[in-house]
Amino acid sequence: MPHPKLSTSHKSSVSIRDMIEAKKSSRQLGAKLEKGIPVILLLIALVSILTTVGIVLTLFTEMIEFFRRVPIMDFFTGTVLKPLSQTPEFGVLPLITGTVLSSAVAMAVAAPVGLMTAIYLSEYASERARKIFKPMLEVLAGIPTIVYGFFAFTFVTPLLREIIPGLEATNILSPGIVMGIMIIPMIASLSEDAMRSVPNSMRAGALALGSTKLEVTGRVVIPAAFSGIVASFVLGISRAIGETMIVTIASGSSKNFTFDLTQSMQTMTAYIVEVTGGDAAAGSTIYYSLYAVAMTLFVFTLLMNVLARYVSRRFREEY
């Protein structure tokens, strides 16, 4: 049907339908492209998948070589790590405790502070307060980790030593705390997003039943946002496990097997930095140990993600 305006003002002018018909041929190319799009996008998506597979395969084959030289049980149950000694030992447990402890300290700082910050921003802060706060958090998130490491070593450790006299100059506590500070913005911002996406109608429903604001937050908003909050925690833990610079600088390179936070420990990441930074001759056992440690690190983060998926699905409140 011709467009009323066109057809009344200019009797001879073409109808819209005609114009569409006329353009049809020029859209043929587009239609062909349209068919190819899924294939092109698939190829692009494959890049990241193939990269992952490639990395895992490399890690795996080199790790196999390592386990030819060092029995697998010695690696996973060994508490002594002396790669450069005359009689080298390759127990990974010191690195695992270093990683787990530093991440635990980081999360002990970041989870409560990040969640409280998110609660404040999402439920209590005025529009103005949020406008000031959020950019500040983003600045915190943008600081390079080397600066955090420096901060841990030159500021936080001396400060902590005032309080804890037995604290060593390099220790796992200080970088753990600083890693926590580094992770706060991530947890705060992701948890806040999750909480703000809970519809207001649910808050209204709870308030109308006589709930206080705290009850609404604790019993309605947080449970409804739970999977998002868990996801933010897991990302935080993964970030802590993978963090390298801060621990390398502030925790030193002692390969202690201990649970004492005041001592120097090494994490898996810091070990990799140390070994690659030194001259590990290709083909040496210490060179292959890198791959075994990297693979262990990879499995750790993988397990975290699997756990997170399970937890968030198990406790998800759907609306």
């Binding site: 429903g205 109308a208 006589g210 309605v220």
Partner: protein
């Protein structure tokens, strides 16, 4: 039919409007008395000098074109309107003789006595059981047996028990819209309020669910005062005892529903109910 309220002492202390109470509507205690209420959203004068008494065990309908202040008035009754930061108000509303704006009257206490049902069903994203148990739980009831009892009673009270009794652990969002709305009514009943405020509770429902909710309202008014906002005039005529007609933030007319719909005093009321505007 009881004509006189039993509690004369309470009557004496409560402002009660009796002048429009004819023989076919029993004289009942006033639950809510609104006096010279004005409310602004910033510069928008949304409620203008409202005077209105709401009686117990009656259904009071609030009708009027959209934007005339119906929801605002309803939300003022349980002070939910104050969640909008720019709200200012003058005047008073007494609830059973107590000024609801009084500092010593905790807003949580008020809302514990006054339930609210929203336009769009808004169950919590929890199980059917937890939706009902939420109110009693926040008010300190922990005993599992007692909670079970309350959940059953409330669901029965909202005439939805038979439909959900075998699936109490299911997520509330697995219910149909009409069932969700009755679940929300049951959620109110679980804290035994005196008043239930309903803001267009059936506007998002199909006719069949609407009929069920209306039937439910008829039964509930034996125990509760119900204030219902509706833009459906047939609904107001069907289920309410009194009707207030709002226009541009003012109460144009407030009277027994029969009177409003048969011989309204104001021309604007007549125009509205006969469908000439709105």
């Amino acid at each position: 039919m009881s004509i006189v309220s039993i509690n004369d002492h309470a009557r004496a202390t409560r402002p009660t409007i009796v002048k429009d109470a004819a023989v076919d509507v029993a004289v009942r205690d006033v639950v809510y008395d609104t006096k010279e209420l004005n409310l602004w959203y910033g510069d928008v004068h949304a409620l203008k000098n409202i005077n209105l008494a709401i009686h117990e065990k009656e259904v009071t309908a609030i009708i009027g074109p959209s934007g005339c202040g119906k929801s605002t008035y309803l939300k003022t009754l349980n002070r939910m309107v104050e969640l909008v930061p720019i709200v200012r108000k003058t005047g008073s509303i007494t609830y059973n003789g107590r000024n609801i704006f009084d500092k010593v009257f905790r807003v949580e206490d008020l809302r514990t006595r006054v339930g609210m049902v929203f336009q769009k069903p808004n169950p919590f994203p929890k199980s059917i059981y937890e939706n009902i148990a939420y109110g009693p739980k926040i008010h300190g009831i922990r005993d599992k047996k007692v909670l079970d009892e309350i959940v059953e009673q409330s669901l029965r009270g909202a005439y939805i028990w038979d439909e959900v009794k075998d699936r109490l652990k299911d997520n509330a969002y697995s219910l149909s819209g009409g069932q969700q709305q009755r679940l929300c009514i049951a959620r109110c009943l679980a804290i035994e309020p005196d008043v239930i405020l309903m803001d267009e509770p059936t506007s998002a429902l199909d006719p069949k669910s609407t009929a069920k909710v209306e039937e439910l309202i008829q039964k509930l008014k034996q125990d509760y005062a119900i204030v219902i906002v509706t833009h459906n005039m047939q609904q107001a005529a069907r289920i309410s005892d009194r009707t207030a007609f709002f226009l541009n933030g003012e109460v144009v007319e407030y009277d027994k529903t029969a009177t409003i719909f048969s011989k309204p005093a104001d021309q604007r009321t007549e125009d509205y109910i006969s469908g000439r505007f709105g």
